[in-house]
Amino acid sequence: MIDILTEYNVLGAFVETLKYTVLAAIGSLVIGTLVAVMRVSPIGVLRGLGTFYVTTIRNTPLTLLMVLSILGLAFIVGLQLSEDFNANTFRWAVVMLSVYHAAFVAEALRSGVNTVPTGQAEAARSIGLTFGQSLREVILPQAFRGAIAPLGSTLIALTKNTTVAQVIGGSEAAGLLSTIVENEGSSYGAFLIIALGFVILTLPTGIAFTHLSERLAVRR
């Protein structure tokens, strides 16, 4: 087990995993918020589009999205995000992780919106705030605070789902594992090290989000 740690750049692979996680977390939060707003908007077409996004993306396997990004979008349509394959893979993986988890973020936020009593939205509208203003000033701040626990679960899922980037050649923890297994043969040691790495990444996230969800919950 020790020789795996000294011979392979395990730390570097997990730094890569962390990069995927952070960038895709930001990306999915942005897209997810937009989709959630669409889903609660008063305009029917936007609501329909939001629902369509969530149902399609949430029910498509992430592996499929990953392979589609490189084989379909980059190679056949020609949407290369970089001439260098490594950078192209990294960027497309971040895009697809963002797009995929945005559906879950949107649903988490929508559940957060549902925790805000209808009366507040009605009060906001009746004092003359527009839809956008009432969303910004009244609904969303409370929705985020109410959705912290499910958002945390989504972040943990995202951390672990970065391993799917391996199917398009991402050099994160699971990519390193496939190299170790090829060279050393399969062993419990290698699997344990990678699994432990993910526990170290996700356990604090879970604790932090549980703590936050209790502290920031809107008392009513």
Binding site: T89, V167, G169, G175, T179, V181, E182, N183, S186
Partner: protein, 278 residues
């Protein structure tokens, strides 16, 4: 509402029960594998030309070698249970006794010898390049500067091509099938891995005439038959079987039938002389 909840609980129980039954079944059947009632042989299920599952049929060079060896061990073809042996699981399958031996593009290496024993080699392959049929610029590993390559993530071939050509533009996928799609859609210029695997793909109906193997190997992969570490008795029997397969011409026939359609000729050192068992 109550009925719906009950239904959900029921279906969960059913799913659990099926899972348990499946586990139990495979557990109880591992014990009697060595009794001669049949053999469990690990092969690839997704490697055209070497080990490929098509419907209920298994085809390829590895399948033919395994069938011949099993025959010499006294097991007719219909008594062989084929087990899928993906690269990452080969050692575990052998160590836990889920297979009797593995014939699955299994290169003999020192690291693997620490976990399993090998009989063979039964074939010497080498890393090569697969290019489109109209490709003229790529003539070998020395002509790769500025070219786009494709291989499988973590594979020995991918590591080697990166070591030998630092800064090479290498796209990696989970399987070679995706690399084939990238190659035929002109997104990459060459696919690199063992010449046997390349020949297997080139021989497939949908790629005939569209791709070609360059034919200049730049590594040596000695394919062996993996078995439980220290089982010298079985190793000796398998080695004898490989020797007689080479001697009576069945080896050449199997190579020609499975990899020949792509113009594959076994490289230097073939047919190989199997190592002594220890």
């Amino acid at each position: 509402m109550i009925t719906r909840r009950r239904l959900a609980a029921l279906s969960a129980c059913a799913a659990l029960a099926v899972g348990l039954a499946a586990c139990g079944g495979s557990d109880s059947s591992t014990g009697d594998s060595a009794s001669g009632a049949g053999l469990k042989v690990g092969i690839k299920f997704d490697q055209p030309g070497l080990g490929l599952k098509q419907g209920s049929e298994y085809k390829g060079l590895d399948v033919d070698v395994a069938t011949y060896v099993a025959g010499k061990l006294g097991t007719p073809a219909d008594k062989i249970t084929w087990v899928q042996a993906p690269s990452a699981q080969r050692e575990s399958l052998i160590e836990t006794g889920q297979v009797d031996f593995i014939v699955a593009t299994y290169s003999i290496t020192d690291a693997r010898k620490e976990k399993v024993s090998f009989a063979g080699p039964y074939l010497i392959a080498g890393q090569d390049l697969l290019v489109r049929a109209d490709e003229a610029a790529i003539t070998g590993p020395e002509a790769l500067a500025g070219k786009k390559l494709c291989s499988v993530k973590g594979s020995t071939s991918a590591q080697k091509v990166k070591d030998q050509n630092p800064g090479v533009n290498l796209q990696e996928f989970a399987t070679y099938s995706e690399c084939m799609a990238a190659l035929t859609s002109r997104a990459v210029d060459a696919l690199t891995t063992d010449d046997t695997i390349l020949a297997g793909y080139a021989a497939q109906e949908q790629y005939k005439g569209k791709v070609k193997v360059v034919g200049k190997t730049f590594s040596q992969e000695r394919y062996g038959i993996g078995l439980k570490k220290g089982n010298v008795d079985l190793c000796t029997k398998i080695t004898d079987a490989i020797n007689s397969m080479i001697k009576d011409g069945d080896w050449q026939k199997a190579v020609d039938a499975n990899l020949g359609p792509a113009g594959y000729k076994p490289g230097a050192g073939n047919p190989p002389t199997p190592d002594a068992c220890s």
